[in-house]
Symmetry: C2
Subunit: 340 residues, 2 copies
């Protein structure tokens, strides 16, 4: 099999009687080449099945046509679906995605970011697991534009694409209030902006309806993702042990809600009759659970699409004021929150 890579820019330039610079400019999409010349060059490239050497091209143009993506856990369906949707947008523009997973470990995340920056990427997309702003700051190289997604650092002037998590918390809580519940608990995440915002939305909705939130009605947990069912089970046991137990619980995500339902039924109580439970994420299996699970859908595919488009924009125009794009969530009601 003959390798098409053997065709060089020089060959195309010679064939057409133009300079190598002209051919190179066409390849890079430079706009100062006349339309007719552009067409001739592209036609000849196609005839010769010219395959640009991306490495050489990267060194020459300073671009790598590569986007770095750092997620805390690829197995969590949110990040998998986000990555899929993002890749779809970038593929159309001939950008590749270099994927790195931090395993929710700030030290691994730092290593991965360093490796990506050293390797050369045009944009960095990251859902950071750093607990605070300062740690994240140290990682930047002030040259590579970056875009935060899912997890924001509100005091960092950075591009951000995520769901409107304040609205997620309000929507879930208002729904539970709407079906007549008054003693509402929250199984919350720790140290990430979606955790803070969903909790704040929960508190705002409760305050607006003048409903009290006893201190022990909010159980803050780690490990919401891969073994979220176990986390939710244990958190729910704490709520069930209270003297006056809640009659509804808003869980940080669907896997913790599944664990919370399991703990509730294991204690001989019924969902939703005794305790109504709602999650977040709207996983594809929610319809098929023992108790079909109500959830807040935060439009993951849409988030990936928007992030992909913003990443492309940053490739060509790295210097622009930070954009903060929040996608509004929707409520999906199933049996776990039916009215009594």
């Amino acid at each position: 099999m003959m390798l098409a890579m053997a065709v060089r820019l020089k060959d195309i330039a010679r064939d057409l009687g133009v300079s190598v610079v002209t051919v190179s400019k066409v390849l890079r999409g430079n706009s100062d080449i006349g339309e007719e010349t552009r067409k001739r060059v592209l036609k000849r490239m196609k005839e010769l099945n010219y395959q640009p050497n991306m490495l050489a091209r990267g060194l020459a143009s300073g671009k790598t046509y590569t986007v770095g993506l750092v997620v805390p856990d690829l197995v969590h369906p949110f990040f998998a679906e986000f990555a899929k949707s993002l890749s779809g947008v970038l593929r159309k523009s001939h950008r590749a995605v270099i994927l790195a997973s931090s395993e929710e470990d700030p030290e691994i995340e730092r290593q991965e970011i360093r490796t990506l920056l050293r390797r050369g990427i045009d944009v960095l997309l990251i859902a950071s697991c750093q607990p605070n702003l300062r740690n994240f700051y140290e990682l930047g190289d002030e040259r590579t534009p970056y875009l935060l997604f899912d997890r924001n650092f509100p005091h960092l002037a950075a591009h951000f694409v995520g769901s409107n998590d304040l609205m997620v918390g309000e929507m879930a809580t208002n729904h539970l209030i709407g079906i007549g519940r008054k003693r509402i608990g929250h199984i919350a995440g720790r140290n990430t902006s979606p955790s803070y915002d969903r909790l704040r939305g929960f508190r705002d909705a409760m305050a607006e309806h003048r409903l009290p939130v006893p201190e022990d009605y909010v159980v803050v947990c780690d490990h919401m993702e891969e073994r979220g069912d176990k986390t939710g089970y244990e958190a729910m046991q704490k709520l069930l042990a209270l003297k006056e137990r809640p009659d509804a619980v808003f869980c940080y995500n669907d896997m913790t809600a599944i664990g919370a339902i399991a703990a509730t039924t294991a204690a001989g109580l019924r969902v939703p009759e005794d305790i109504a439970i709602i999650g977040c994420g709207n996983m594809p299996y929610n319809d098929y659970l023992k108790v079909p699970l109500s959830s807040i859908d935060h439009g993951t595919a849409e988030l990936g699409r928007i992030a992909g488009e913003l990443a492309l924009e940053l490739t060509s125009h790295p210097e622009q004021p930070p954009k903060n794009i929040l996608v509004p969530p929707t409520l999906v009601v199933r049996a776990s929150t039916l009215p009594r």
Copy 2:
């Protein structure tokens, strides 16, 4: 913030009074440099916080320290878990993963492979959605070593890492026979080696027990992955409409099994009393379903780990006889296949 990339090999060579070639050889782990010199170079690199420019290094050494991964669908938990496990192994050896998804579309897959090869990768890992061998052959550049995973082309002399799908089919079917079922159907996939092998394992186990497999007891389907529940629901409706319907069904994967159970209960029948159902994949939510789902676990994390190690081997020793590594599956019994 000062960029460490400003330190060049030249600087290190001058500081130590050695040649740039020597420093470069140390960086590449070349073995013809004396131990003492190696240590001095590495010490100085550390002092200066030297960050190799991966692009330049790639051009010089012919290596990119990058592995290309092509999956048919990132949202399917199997591929997400595989990618996670693989990345873990490669991270420890400072290799990055470039991720591409073919969306189960052979044409997109061809584009993605071309882009990866053009960009430069040290090894290509792929679960191909090409329907046949010839299509896949055309894609190779005969320079970049590759490794098939999950989906094999048996007549292609290539490295392969996957579950033992023949054993998957036998194990699931023998289990259904073991709980006393005799009329066993199979909801099968199309055009991939796991589909063929699981079907063959099913047929072998039935033949061994002298149980008949009527032609219409095998329903072959597309779209087993992202909307597998819908596929399984419709396939099961066909089996339920037969004059003599099956008393057990082995489904290609867990999502199709979930759909098959939904169709069975919608028809007023009970699982497992009237029809026992088993899937494959052992998803984390199987315990929490209306009917907890029995499944074959094919050890996804183990597959990713093995593939990662073989990929590293191929980076340093591309020329070696094809390895065919099959991981044996395990049976996980839940309520959907309890004996009557």
